[in-house]
């Protein structure tokens, strides 16, 4: 591979982290915002360049590989970076959402803005690192690097119940991370590779697969740990609470990108290394995800009155589709999950962004206290309706292809669960459209009239429009041209060139 591209990949991760360090060391505020803006933008430019240069013909291998030794080479730990066909779309997602969240944070005028930017930059660097890591130790390490700032941001800039939310988030997610770490260490020890390098682990497993019962308990550990991190029912209760309290940029990055860590880990690590273990748990996982995440949480979402809590629950619900796609254990299902992860990441980030913009105008998240905002802020209304449509999975948005592929894969796995999943689409249409209607149409409540009389709501300004536009453009791009994602994913999953679901155009 071209060595300069490998260095570019390193640079993409180092830029936000380095900028965070410089700002933390006491850069004046006006330079800090400029530096932060540059550091949020650079990774996206690099990601787009790497995407355009990606060698399509052998996407199952890693491109842009580079290895840095950190002193634990004897334990098979080294900072090994690279991208394969599954990692590439996720890396791109992290770069897009990171830029949008960063731009939105820059205009937010938050108190202690410099600290906010530092934490957000660390989180961004960690997210990029997660998807660029070939070494599963650093894969975990970068995840934690991104997770810690989330806790602090919720605790300092959070909304209602922020202390309780921050504590609950910390304990749930640390417990989940510890369990998945144990699973990863178990893989390291049991595979006999004596290395955390995913490529070497795959080779070791290809030479001699792990015993069935070993795969089962490692699979259980990983599913429990990753499941907590991805809010698998009934371990999801941290998510709505945390997202309800989190400041918008943190919620965008966490719900949009960081939460996908667990799913990505299952696809990138568990499926190739412990396929039998996953098969052992597939039905239990599918039932939890289908009944719990999609149906139960779906109904709970319908009952929400708080816009941000509703978005939190809806993201829990959509994770159910991803788990169902993984439980189907087929190439189509897995490919669909990657598509869905990217699409959901973009749409949920857009929704969290718009929810905060709505809050700036109505000074409330309570759906029953809103109404009629569309007359005063038509552009905001248009964005919100588009994002809601994307969330429901309307054709034209990337979500449609993801959900469709997952349903196709699920049909082979279980007809009944497919029916449940399709019912979930109706549920999400009900709550999504009802929320849009409550916020933007119908008569304004008395409460709202009083607020808008004091502060007449202005429509979206350019500083809000720009991040929203970036996210919406990406959603539409992947909606009309899903091949951009599905092709590398397809080839990463199938070393032999077989066309996947063929949702091209």
């Amino acid at each position: 591979m071209n060595p300069s591209n490998a260095q570019l990949l390193q640079l993409a991760i180092a830029t936000p982290l380095g900028a965070a360090l410089i700002i933390a060391c006491g850069l004046p505020k006006r330079f800090s915002t400029k530096l932060a803006a540059a550091a949020f933008t650079a990774p996206l430019l690099i990601a787009l360049w790497l995407w355009s240069q990606f060698p399509a013909e052998n996407a199952h291998q890693y491109a842009y590989l580079s290895t840095t030794y950190t002193g634990l080479a004897a334990f098979g730990i080294s900072l090994k970076l690279g991208l394969n066909g599954i990692a590439l779309p996720m890396f791109l997602l992290a770069a897009i959402v990171g830029l949008a969240a960063g731009l939105y944070a820059l205009r937010s005028g938050a108190e202690r803005l410099k600290l906010y930017l530092v934490l957000l930059l660390v989180m961004h660097g960690g997210l990029l690192g997660v998807f660029a890591s070939v070494d599963i130790f650093f894969f975990y390490f970068f995840h934690e690097l991104a997770l810690i700032p989330t806790f602090i941001m919720v605790g300092i800039w959070g909304g209602r119940d922020r202390n309780y939310a921050a504590m609950k988030l910390t304990i749930y997610l640390t417990a989940g991370a510890m369990l998945s770490l144990l699973g990863l260490i178990a893989l390291y020890v049991k595979s006999g590779a004596n290395s955390f390098d995913l490529i070497e682990l795959k080779d070791a497993v290809a030479a001699q697969a792990l015993a069935g019962h070993t795969q089962n308990w490692i699979g259980g550990l990983l599913l429990l740990g990753f499941g907590t991190l991805v809010s698998l029912w009934p371990l999801h209760t941290w998510a709505p609470l945390g997202y309800g309290a989190a400041p918008s940029s943190a919620a965008m990055l966490h719900a949009g990108v960081l939460k996908k860590f667990g799913l990505y880990g299952l696809i990138q690590i568990a499926i190739p290394l412990i396929p039998l273990g996953l098969q052992h748990w597939a039905w239990k996982l599918a039932l939890l995800a289908g009944i719990g995440n999609v149906l139960v949480v779906g109904f709970v979402t319908m009952a929400q009155r708080d816009l941000k809590q509703m978005l939190g629950y809806s993201s829990v619900m959509h994770m159910g589709y991803c788990f169902l796609g993984i439980a189907a254990l087929s190439t189509i299902g897995t490919g669909g999950v990657v598509l869905l992860m990217v699409a959901h990441g973009l749409s949920v980030a857009l929704l969290f962004l718009l929810a905060t913009s709505i809050h700036h105008r109505t000074h409330t998240f309570d759906l029953s206290e809103m109404g009629g905002l569309a007359q005063k802020t038509p552009v905001l209304a248009a964005f919100f309706v588009a994002a809601t449509m994307a969330g429901i999975g309307l054709p034209g948005f990337a979500n449609f292809w993801g959900e469709l592929t997952v349903f196709v894969a699920l049909w082979k796995f279980s007809h009944a669960l497919t029916a449940v999943a399709v019912a979930g689409v109706i549920i999400s249409a009900v709550y999504g459209l009802r929320a849009a209607a409550r916020v933007f149409f119908g008569p304004a409540s008395e409460q709202l009239q009083r607020v808008t009389a004091q502060h007449p709501p202005a429509d979206l300004d350019w500083k809000e429009k720009l991040p929203a536009l970036i996210l919406l453009a990406a959603l539409l791009l992947f909606g009309f041209y899903p091949k951009a994602i599905s092709q590398p994913v397809d080839q990463a999953l199938n070393p032999a060139p077989v066309t996947l679901t063929a949702p091209a155009r």
């Binding site: 080479a73 922020r162 202390n163 304990i171 640390t174 510890m178 144990l182 260490i185």
Partner: protein
Amino acid sequence: MSTELLKAVAASNEWWALGPEIILACAALGLLVLELVTPKAQHRFIPHAAGMALAVVLAGVALNFGKIWDGEELFGGLIRLSMPGQVARVFFLLSSLLVCFLATVCLPRARVPRVEFYHLLLVVTAALMLLAQSNHFVMFFVALETVTIGFYILVSYYRERASSLEAGLKYLVLGALSSAILLFGIVLLYGAVGRVEAGGVVHTGFEFGTVLTFLRENPGNFLATAGALLVIGGVAFKIGAFPFQIWVPDVYQGAPTPVTAFLAVSSKAAGFAVLLLLVHGAFAPLAGVLVPVLSLLAAATIIFGNLSALTQRNTKRLMGLSGVAHAGYLLIGVVASFTVPWAAGAVWFYLFTYLLASMAVFGVMAYVAGPDDSGEELDHYARLARERPFLGAVLAVGVGSLAGIPPLAGFMGKLLLFVAAFHAQLYGLLAVAVVGVVISIFYYFGWIKAAWFEIWTPPAAGTDSPARPLPAGPKWVGVAALALLTFATVLLGFFQAPLSGWLLPR
């Protein structure tokens, strides 16, 4: 003693090999002389002299790190040089240097004599270094008692303060008990082994090597096994392992902050140095008994430490009880080292990360504490991050590292211990450790929360809780020391080469 023998001793390099300890002991005496001969106005330089002595010896040991003959026995087998011994020397010197720094922050606030503190600090450091290299139970006991007696005085150093005196008394009573247990164990071993004559040289049951040979030949000997277990019990007191941890919270709370740090870091590390020395040396044949006993101790220590730390509001008690939990994690490493040789290196790695993080936290505690440092509560940290952002950042990194949160050094320490435990197939202990780590997140996070998150507190009612003054900001030495500790803690989180090179297999 004949002159020939004296000449032979003088000509050998045995004294050179003990240079660091001898220099420290001489420097300790030198401090007292300095106090006598210099005018009183110059006495404030004496702490710096002590720090200089420690720094010079530390540099000397570090530069000559590999220049020993691993396994060389000195003074007729009293002392045995080894690589773990060298690591321990570096550890104790570094720790004492930082304690010296903490003392220059804390002691001026109290009306106490200063010079004796540094004198005792140097003596105890030398004794700690000897302890980690001892090869003979008499040497072992004398070094351990020198350490313990030094601590009796240091703990009650604020002699006008009831809490400090109370802590000193508790440490004295329970310390004496543990010394008695230890001594009884040594005597039992001596009695069981007796005197062995081999090749015209008489060996006694005091020598580690003789005990090892005896235990290897008589694996089921009840007296010797009981003696070994009693010795381990005495060492467990130093570590603060269950059920010998009762003294920890009270003594940590009452002792002056530098002494608390000294106890938490050096005293605990000394326990582990000795434990590793014994279980892989003299008591190696007893692995069948020691593994279950130590496993039980580890599990109980982790559970007790974490559960009892959960409800603490006093920062020193919190550090003490969470330190008990750390001792439990380290004991897992000791258990694992029976089957995974590099686990001993992982224990030392963990101890170094613990040193860096603990000293950073104690440094912040020293600045936040008012004149009475035994009553420091979590509430006193409110608004610290806003008013003293530097101290807030150091605290967050230190506490985060203690909690084992990546990307900080403490996480790497825990990871290496967990990997070792996995290799040794200690799944039960691992489960306990993971539960313990998750519990510990609650109280460590509570501390960071107190310093960083703005929590609305009701305005103080009445005059019983007057507004606390702003903590004094550190001067440049303090800034440099804390910044270095923080930097090292962050760096070791992702670049372990500086430590792994000489602690772990390459």
